[in-house]
Symmetry: C2
Protein backbone atom coordinates (compact mmCIF):
# COMPACT_ATOMS: atom_id res chain seq x y z
CA UNK A 1 0.00 0.00 0.00
CA UNK A 2 1.22 3.46 -0.86
CA UNK A 3 -0.03 5.06 2.31
CA UNK A 4 1.68 8.05 3.85
CA UNK A 5 4.29 7.36 6.51
CA UNK A 6 3.52 7.64 10.20
CA UNK A 7 5.63 10.74 10.28
CA UNK A 8 3.76 12.31 7.40
CA UNK A 9 0.42 11.54 9.04
CA UNK A 10 1.60 13.19 12.23
CA UNK A 11 2.56 16.30 10.32
CA UNK A 12 -0.83 16.40 8.68
CA UNK A 13 -2.61 16.06 12.00
CA UNK A 14 -0.51 18.86 13.45
CA UNK A 15 -1.33 21.11 10.56
CA UNK A 16 -4.99 20.24 10.91
CA UNK A 17 -5.03 21.28 14.56
CA UNK A 18 -3.17 24.45 13.82
CA UNK A 19 -5.45 25.49 10.98
CA UNK A 20 -8.54 24.76 13.04
CA UNK A 21 -7.33 26.88 15.91
CA UNK A 22 -6.39 29.75 13.66
CA UNK A 23 -9.76 29.63 11.94
CA UNK A 24 -11.70 29.31 15.21
CA UNK A 25 -13.04 25.98 14.08
CA UNK A 26 -13.76 23.65 16.97
CA UNK A 27 -11.73 20.51 17.24
CA UNK A 28 -14.39 17.91 17.78
CA UNK A 29 -13.84 14.17 17.99
CA UNK A 30 -15.72 13.74 14.76
CA UNK A 31 -13.56 16.19 12.86
CA UNK A 32 -10.43 14.68 14.26
CA UNK A 33 -11.37 11.17 13.23
CA UNK A 34 -12.67 12.18 9.83
CA UNK A 35 -9.55 14.11 9.03
CA UNK A 36 -7.35 11.33 10.36
CA UNK A 37 -9.09 8.87 8.11
CA UNK A 38 -8.37 10.88 4.98
CA UNK A 39 -4.88 11.84 6.16
CA UNK A 40 -3.72 8.31 6.83
CA UNK A 41 -4.73 6.67 3.60
CA UNK A 42 -3.32 6.99 0.12
CA UNK A 43 -6.39 5.74 -1.69
CA UNK A 44 -8.50 8.90 -2.00
CA UNK A 45 -11.76 7.72 -0.46
CA UNK A 46 -15.18 9.18 -1.17
CA UNK A 47 -17.55 10.36 1.57
CA UNK A 48 -19.23 6.99 1.95
CA UNK A 49 -15.91 5.21 2.39
CA UNK A 50 -14.73 7.68 4.98
CA UNK A 51 -18.02 7.22 6.78
CA UNK A 52 -17.71 3.43 6.88
CA UNK A 53 -14.18 3.51 8.16
CA UNK A 54 -14.70 6.18 10.77
CA UNK A 55 -17.78 4.43 12.04
CA UNK A 56 -15.69 1.44 13.04
CA UNK A 57 -13.93 3.56 15.62
CA UNK A 58 -16.80 5.93 16.33
CA UNK A 59 -20.10 4.14 15.74
CA UNK A 60 -22.23 7.19 16.34
CA UNK A 61 -20.98 9.48 13.55
CA UNK A 62 -23.53 10.30 10.94
CA UNK A 63 -23.00 10.46 7.24
CA UNK A 64 -24.06 14.06 7.05
CA UNK A 65 -21.39 15.05 9.53
CA UNK A 66 -18.88 13.32 7.29
CA UNK A 67 -20.06 15.36 4.32
CA UNK A 68 -20.09 18.60 6.28
CA UNK A 69 -16.66 17.93 7.66
CA UNK A 70 -15.08 16.95 4.37
CA UNK A 71 -16.26 20.15 2.71
CA UNK A 72 -15.15 22.14 5.70
CA UNK A 73 -11.70 20.61 5.47
CA UNK A 74 -11.71 21.32 1.78
CA UNK A 75 -12.71 24.93 2.29
CA UNK A 76 -9.88 25.38 4.75
CA UNK A 77 -7.35 23.92 2.37
CA UNK A 78 -6.65 20.87 4.50
CA UNK A 79 -7.73 18.43 1.84
CA UNK A 80 -8.56 18.70 -1.84
CA UNK A 81 -10.79 16.79 -4.20
CA UNK A 82 -9.83 14.65 -7.12
CA UNK A 83 -11.13 16.09 -10.33
CA UNK A 84 -13.53 18.99 -10.45
CA UNK A 85 -14.98 19.48 -7.00
CA UNK A 86 -18.75 19.28 -6.65
CA UNK A 87 -19.46 19.00 -10.33
CA UNK A 88 -21.51 16.60 -12.34
CA UNK A 89 -20.10 14.39 -15.01
CA UNK A 90 -19.12 16.35 -18.09
CA UNK A 91 -18.77 14.97 -21.59
CA UNK A 92 -16.21 15.45 -24.31
CA UNK A 93 -16.44 14.51 -27.96
CA UNK A 94 -12.79 15.28 -28.63
CA UNK A 95 -11.19 11.91 -29.13
CA UNK A 96 -7.82 13.23 -30.24
CA UNK A 97 -5.07 13.26 -27.68
CA UNK A 98 -5.36 16.52 -25.82
CA UNK A 99 -4.92 18.26 -22.50
CA UNK A 100 -7.04 20.46 -20.29
CA UNK A 101 -6.95 23.90 -18.84
CA UNK A 102 -9.34 24.04 -15.86
CA UNK A 103 -10.36 27.24 -14.13
CA UNK A 104 -10.40 26.63 -10.40
CA UNK A 105 -12.95 29.38 -9.89
CA UNK A 106 -15.66 28.81 -12.46
CA UNK A 107 -14.91 25.32 -13.73
CA UNK A 108 -14.34 26.38 -17.33
CA UNK A 109 -12.49 23.58 -19.08
CA UNK A 110 -10.79 23.98 -22.42
CA UNK A 111 -8.72 21.66 -24.54
CA UNK A 112 -5.28 22.35 -25.80
CA UNK A 113 -2.81 20.33 -27.79
CA UNK A 114 0.87 19.57 -27.46
CA UNK A 115 2.72 16.72 -29.01
CA UNK A 116 5.43 17.22 -26.48
CA UNK A 117 3.01 16.70 -23.61
CA UNK A 118 1.37 13.72 -25.29
CA UNK A 119 4.55 11.80 -24.91
CA UNK A 120 5.97 12.62 -21.51
CA UNK A 121 8.75 10.65 -19.90
CA UNK A 122 7.29 9.17 -16.77
CA UNK A 123 9.25 8.24 -13.67
CA UNK A 124 9.64 4.59 -12.78
CA UNK A 125 7.33 5.05 -9.81
CA UNK A 126 4.46 5.88 -12.15
CA UNK A 127 5.11 2.98 -14.50
CA UNK A 128 5.17 0.62 -11.55
CA UNK A 129 1.42 0.89 -11.04
CA UNK A 130 0.56 -1.00 -14.18
CA UNK A 131 0.15 -0.71 -17.91
CA UNK A 132 -0.07 2.83 -19.17
CA UNK A 133 -2.54 3.82 -21.82
CA UNK A 134 -2.23 7.59 -21.99
CA UNK A 135 -1.07 10.56 -20.02
CA UNK A 136 -2.86 13.82 -19.89
CA UNK A 137 -1.88 17.10 -18.42
CA UNK A 138 -4.32 19.12 -16.40
CA UNK A 139 -3.39 22.76 -16.06
CA UNK A 140 -5.12 24.41 -13.14
CA UNK A 141 -5.44 28.14 -13.06
CA UNK A 142 -7.78 31.07 -13.24
CA UNK A 143 -9.32 31.89 -16.58
CA UNK A 144 -9.20 35.39 -18.02
CA UNK A 145 -12.77 36.14 -17.25
CA UNK A 146 -12.49 35.12 -13.60
CA UNK A 147 -9.19 36.93 -13.21
CA UNK A 148 -10.78 40.14 -14.41
CA UNK A 149 -14.00 39.76 -12.54
CA UNK A 150 -13.96 38.72 -8.89
CA UNK A 151 -17.72 38.29 -8.88
CA UNK A 152 -17.42 35.40 -11.29
CA UNK A 153 -15.79 33.35 -8.58
CA UNK A 154 -17.70 30.37 -7.37
CA UNK A 155 -19.31 30.89 -4.05
CA UNK A 156 -17.24 29.19 -1.40
CA UNK A 157 -19.06 26.39 0.37
CA UNK A 158 -20.68 28.59 2.96
Amino acid sequence: MANPSKHEVKQRMARFEQVCREARVRLTHQRLEIFREVAQTGDHPDAEMVYKRVRERMPTVSLDTVYRTLWLLNDHGLITTLGPSRERTRFDANLASHHHFVCIRCGLTRDFYSEELDDLKLPRSAKAFGWIEATLVEVRGVCRECAGNTATAKKPNK
Copy 2:
Protein backbone atom coordinates in the same frame (compact mmCIF):
# COMPACT_ATOMS: atom_id res chain seq x y z
CA MET B 1 -14.73 30.37 -28.32
CA ALA B 2 -12.51 27.35 -28.78
CA ASN B 3 -15.12 25.26 -30.50
CA PRO B 4 -14.24 22.63 -33.06
CA SER B 5 -14.22 23.72 -36.70
CA LYS B 6 -17.13 22.98 -38.99
CA HIS B 7 -14.95 20.46 -40.71
CA GLU B 8 -14.08 18.71 -37.48
CA VAL B 9 -17.74 18.58 -36.47
CA LYS B 10 -18.59 16.99 -39.82
CA GLN B 11 -15.98 14.35 -39.28
CA ARG B 12 -17.33 13.59 -35.86
CA MET B 13 -20.86 13.26 -37.17
CA ALA B 14 -19.66 10.94 -39.90
CA ARG B 15 -17.85 8.77 -37.40
CA PHE B 16 -20.93 8.74 -35.22
CA GLU B 17 -23.11 7.44 -38.04
CA GLN B 18 -20.56 4.86 -38.99
CA VAL B 19 -20.12 3.54 -35.47
CA CYS B 20 -23.87 3.38 -34.94
CA ARG B 21 -24.37 1.39 -38.10
CA GLU B 22 -21.60 -1.01 -37.27
CA ALA B 23 -22.93 -1.53 -33.78
CA ARG B 24 -26.53 -1.94 -34.97
CA VAL B 25 -27.53 1.06 -32.92
CA ARG B 26 -30.45 2.93 -34.42
CA LEU B 27 -29.88 6.43 -35.66
CA THR B 28 -32.75 8.30 -34.10
CA HIS B 29 -33.32 12.03 -34.27
CA GLN B 30 -32.66 12.27 -30.56
CA ARG B 31 -29.31 10.54 -30.75
CA LEU B 32 -28.30 12.61 -33.71
CA GLU B 33 -29.11 15.88 -31.98
CA ILE B 34 -27.60 14.87 -28.66
CA PHE B 35 -24.38 13.77 -30.25
CA ARG B 36 -24.28 16.87 -32.43
CA GLU B 37 -24.64 19.02 -29.36
CA VAL B 38 -21.61 17.49 -27.66
CA ALA B 39 -19.64 17.27 -30.89
CA GLN B 40 -20.05 20.91 -31.84
CA THR B 41 -19.03 22.51 -28.58
CA GLY B 42 -15.67 22.80 -26.89
CA ASP B 43 -17.01 23.43 -23.42
CA HIS B 44 -17.61 19.91 -22.11
CA PRO B 45 -21.25 20.19 -21.06
CA ASP B 46 -22.93 18.04 -18.44
CA ALA B 47 -26.15 16.14 -19.09
CA GLU B 48 -28.38 18.98 -17.95
CA MET B 49 -26.66 21.45 -20.28
CA VAL B 50 -26.95 19.12 -23.24
CA TYR B 51 -30.61 18.68 -22.42
CA LYS B 52 -31.29 22.41 -22.33
CA ARG B 53 -29.54 23.05 -25.62
CA VAL B 54 -31.04 20.15 -27.49
CA ARG B 55 -34.48 21.05 -26.27
CA GLU B 56 -34.29 24.33 -28.12
CA ARG B 57 -34.20 22.48 -31.40
CA MET B 58 -36.22 19.48 -30.29
CA PRO B 59 -38.63 20.52 -27.54
CA THR B 60 -39.89 17.01 -26.88
CA VAL B 61 -36.66 15.28 -25.84
CA SER B 62 -36.64 14.10 -22.30
CA LEU B 63 -33.79 14.34 -19.84
CA ASP B 64 -33.64 10.61 -19.35
CA THR B 65 -33.08 10.10 -23.06
CA VAL B 66 -30.19 12.52 -22.82
CA TYR B 67 -28.65 10.49 -20.01
CA ARG B 68 -29.23 7.20 -21.77
CA THR B 69 -27.80 8.53 -24.98
CA LEU B 70 -24.72 10.10 -23.43
CA TRP B 71 -23.78 6.85 -21.71
CA LEU B 72 -24.49 4.94 -24.87
CA LEU B 73 -22.17 7.24 -26.81
CA ASN B 74 -19.60 6.84 -24.06
CA ASP B 75 -19.87 3.05 -24.15
CA HIS B 76 -19.32 3.09 -27.88
CA GLY B 77 -16.26 5.27 -27.58
CA LEU B 78 -17.82 8.24 -29.36
CA ILE B 79 -17.41 10.56 -26.42
CA THR B 80 -15.56 10.38 -23.14
CA THR B 81 -16.08 11.89 -19.73
CA LEU B 82 -13.95 14.44 -17.94
CA GLY B 83 -12.48 13.01 -14.81
CA PRO B 84 -13.46 9.65 -13.43
CA SER B 85 -16.67 8.53 -15.12
CA ARG B 86 -19.65 7.84 -12.88
CA GLU B 87 -17.80 8.27 -9.63
CA ARG B 88 -18.49 10.31 -6.56
CA THR B 89 -16.21 13.03 -5.32
CA ARG B 90 -13.05 11.63 -3.79
CA PHE B 91 -10.84 13.38 -1.27
CA ASP B 92 -7.11 13.74 -0.94
CA ALA B 93 -5.10 14.96 2.05
CA ASN B 94 -1.86 15.09 0.11
CA LEU B 95 -1.13 18.77 -0.29
CA ALA B 96 2.33 18.34 -1.73
CA SER B 97 2.68 18.69 -5.47
CA HIS B 98 1.98 15.29 -6.94
CA HIS B 99 0.54 13.41 -9.87
CA HIS B 100 -1.93 10.60 -10.33
CA PHE B 101 -2.05 7.14 -11.76
CA VAL B 102 -5.68 6.22 -12.45
CA CYS B 103 -6.83 2.72 -13.35
CA ILE B 104 -9.44 2.99 -16.08
CA ARG B 105 -11.00 -0.31 -15.04
CA CYS B 106 -11.41 -0.14 -11.28
CA GLY B 107 -10.82 3.52 -10.52
CA LEU B 108 -7.79 2.93 -8.27
CA THR B 109 -5.96 6.22 -7.94
CA ARG B 110 -2.46 6.51 -6.56
CA ASP B 111 -0.11 9.42 -6.12
CA PHE B 112 3.38 9.64 -7.48
CA TYR B 113 6.00 12.34 -7.43
CA SER B 114 8.26 13.86 -10.03
CA GLU B 115 9.97 17.19 -9.85
CA GLU B 116 10.38 17.08 -13.58
CA LEU B 117 6.64 16.78 -14.11
CA ASP B 118 5.89 19.47 -11.52
CA ASP B 119 7.53 22.00 -13.75
CA LEU B 120 6.46 21.23 -17.28
CA LYS B 121 6.95 23.62 -20.14
CA LEU B 122 3.51 24.47 -21.39
CA PRO B 123 2.66 25.56 -24.92
CA ARG B 124 1.53 29.12 -25.49
CA SER B 125 -1.98 27.90 -26.24
CA ALA B 126 -2.30 26.64 -22.67
CA LYS B 127 -0.95 29.80 -21.10
CA ALA B 128 -3.36 31.87 -23.13
CA PHE B 129 -6.34 30.70 -21.10
CA GLY B 130 -5.32 32.62 -18.01
CA TRP B 131 -3.12 32.55 -14.98
CA ILE B 132 -1.63 29.16 -14.20
CA GLU B 133 -1.46 27.86 -10.68
CA ALA B 134 -0.26 24.31 -11.09
CA THR B 135 -0.06 21.51 -13.60
CA LEU B 136 -0.70 17.93 -12.80
CA VAL B 137 -0.21 14.84 -14.82
CA GLU B 138 -2.83 12.15 -14.93
CA VAL B 139 -1.57 8.81 -16.08
CA ARG B 140 -4.35 6.56 -17.29
CA GLY B 141 -3.79 2.88 -17.46
CA VAL B 142 -4.69 -0.49 -16.04
CA CYS B 143 -3.42 -1.33 -12.58
CA ARG B 144 -1.61 -4.57 -11.88
CA GLU B 145 -4.52 -6.18 -10.19
CA CYS B 146 -6.94 -5.44 -13.01
CA ALA B 147 -4.40 -6.49 -15.62
CA GLY B 148 -4.05 -9.86 -13.96
CA ASN B 149 -7.70 -10.36 -13.24
CA THR B 150 -10.28 -9.68 -15.90
CA ALA B 151 -13.09 -10.10 -13.39
CA THR B 152 -11.95 -6.98 -11.56
CA ALA B 153 -12.99 -4.88 -14.51
CA LYS B 154 -15.84 -2.51 -13.92
CA LYS B 155 -19.04 -3.64 -15.51
CA PRO B 156 -19.64 -1.65 -18.65
CA ASN B 157 -22.77 0.46 -18.55
CA LYS B 158 -25.13 -2.32 -19.52
